[in-house]
């Protein structure tokens, strides 16, 4: 055991730890060509798969088309084609101005929840995943089991007691009630653990230590840059989760001033069903479009990271 080889022994064990059934896999980001060696493109397969493409895109097309219609022409024109008037810009202006510009307020709330919630969740997951992957410490395995077990606990089982606890602390109806529970992403921790195990060579950490770098400095200067692709993946997952969050704010927030977009849109929609409420379906539709656009833009810009992240997810057996 006096040889330097033990440095390497923990690594394969760690990599296979979450999947005892699977052999070690090639590195996460390796790129190769598609399956068979020389596939010929097939028009028939493209057309059949095109049906799934239509299924995925038609509702989004519907949303875009109908965001251009006034409330009146929503009712009397064909759903998948434009109406007699083109009211997109009027609708956007009306959406942003309705009820003293409450939509803008909701948008800013959502941005706050995403930046603080998803940003914080990602940071905690990166730190924790790095710890689990690169340090031996008492209770490491227990931590892992507990956190992954917790991921299976349904949201409502947590929601009621969390609401009661937060209401005793006076935190309901404040942004904290949405941000603090968003800070934990068991899946994010898991992804970072897998990713850090492969992305940060122990030798590099040892080298930094020999050079006299403290653990915190090693983390920020050596590990963090290597963890960037995994971090981007976790950030995207947590961003989608917080941007789309509905259940948590539904429970925690009563004051419309602290609504995120999802709650606000639902409130506008429900308004038509209440007695004396003004139906604002054109605003619901335009507001929905405005809610979707930022996330789809983020997707298109950062989509290549998702694949590497999901590959890490598929390591679990």
């Amino acid at each position: 055991m006096g040889t330097p080889t033990p440095t390497r022994t923990p690594r394969p064990r760690r990599r296979t730890a979450p999947s005892p059934l699977r052999p070690p896999r090639p590195r996460l980001r390796s790129r190769r060509g598609a399956g068979p060696a020389h596939p010929r493109r097939s028009l028939a397969l493209t057309l059949v798969t095109g049906l799934a493409l239509l299924y995925s895109l038609v509702p989004l097309v519907w949303l875009v088309v109908n965001a251009t219609k006034s409330q009146a022409s929503l009712l009397d024109s064909f759903g998948l084609w434009f109406g007699s008037d083109f009211a997109l810009f009027d609708n956007i202006a009306a959406t942003l101005a309705y009820d003293d510009g409450v939509f803008v307020r909701w948008l800013l709330n959502t941005v706050l929840y995403v930046v603080a919630g998803a940003g914080g969740a990602t940071f905690l997951a990166v730190l924790g995943g790095y710890a689990l992957a690169k340090f031996e410490f008492p209770g490491r395995r227990a931590v892992f089991a507990v956190v992954l077990g917790a991921a299976a606990v349904p949201g409502t089982a947590l929601a009621v007691p969390t609401f009661l606890m937060f209401s005793q602390l006076g935190l309901t109806n404040t942004p904290w009630a949405v941000i603090v529970p968003s800070l934990i992403s068991p899946f994010g921790l898991y992804l970072m653990w897998i990713f850090a195990a492969q992305a940060v060579p122990k030798e590099l950490m040892e080298a930094a230590r020999i050079d006299g770098s403290g653990e915190i400095r090693t983390f920020f200067t050596v590990a963090l840059p290597l963890l960037a692709p995994g971090t981007a993946t976790v950030l995207l997952f947590t961003m989608v989760a917080t941007w789309n969050n509905y259940f948590l704010p539904l429970i925690m927030i009563r004051d419309p001033d602290w609504f995120p977009l999802t709650l606000g849109l639902n409130a506008w929609n429900a308004q038509a069903a209440t007695i004396g409420g003004e139906p604002v379906f054109h605003l619901v539709i335009t507001g929905s479009l405005l809610t979707v656009i930022p996330l789809i833009a983020a997707f298109l810009l950062l989509q290549r990271y998702w694949r590497s992240g999901l590959t890490a997810g598929s390591l679990k057996g």
Partner: protein
Amino acid sequence: MTSTTTAARTPHRPPKRARPRGRWTGWGFLAPFMAVFALVFVAPILYSLHLSVYRDQLVGGTSFVGLDNYRSAFTDPVFWESVSRVSLFLAVQVPIMLFLALLLALALDSGRLYGRDFFRISIFMPYAVPAVVAALMWGFMYGSRFGLVGNANDLLGVTLPDPLSPGLILASIGNIVTWQFVGYNMLILFSALRTVPHNLYEAAEVDGAGQLRVITAIKLPALRGALVIAAIFSVIGSFQLFNEPSILRSLAPNAISTGYTPNLYTYSLAFSGQQQNYAAAVAIIMGLLTMVIAYAVQLFGMRKAA
């Protein structure tokens, strides 16, 4: 060199020149996560267990009732009706969605599609749409007033069955969920396929294996782990069904009751009915049920592997 197991578990001792690293250093990095985790996961679960053995009555205040709440839940027809509803949902929607996702992943991986990346991104895109927006959008499209169903009725002079009617609403919800998640599952499976070593395909080609044989002998076994994960996520998702029925309720109040899914039931018990203790018990039963089924799926997947 006495025992291999202890040798494997002994942490690597750094060379003498390196700064000695404490056994607890890892905890320093993990502590922030664990602190928040304790606050928003562990404490609520413990509190929930505590709540579930009490009962709050108008007369007499809060009293300890042992397992009474659990006993009531086990004989509560509304609860079990909602459980059987999500079980039906799970049994029908999840296989359809995963099968579609599997076909799409195989199509993407075959390399025979024109514009593969366009397909990949477009089919995945609905995942970025918030459940609220997806439910509102589909709810409008289902509607006979300005929805596509209404358009089809007018255009063709027929009366299509109303997707928001009590008989069809579960299928309509299933469609929304499938729309949102088929691309996500496709991507999980596609990513797993991409990690298959290339030389396996070359070997298969040399052996003269056809496409179908390559799929059954190489690709499907390679997908097993990813399929198990996708299935577990889908089980958890089905049992937690809340957003879609909760939002469609305003469009179809007669088709969706307050106890339509277990989550809706717990929500209405706790926040409209003020029965927080009973709601806690129901939620705990549902949590245990979810874990048991997710675990069963995992065992099933593992057994097939052996």
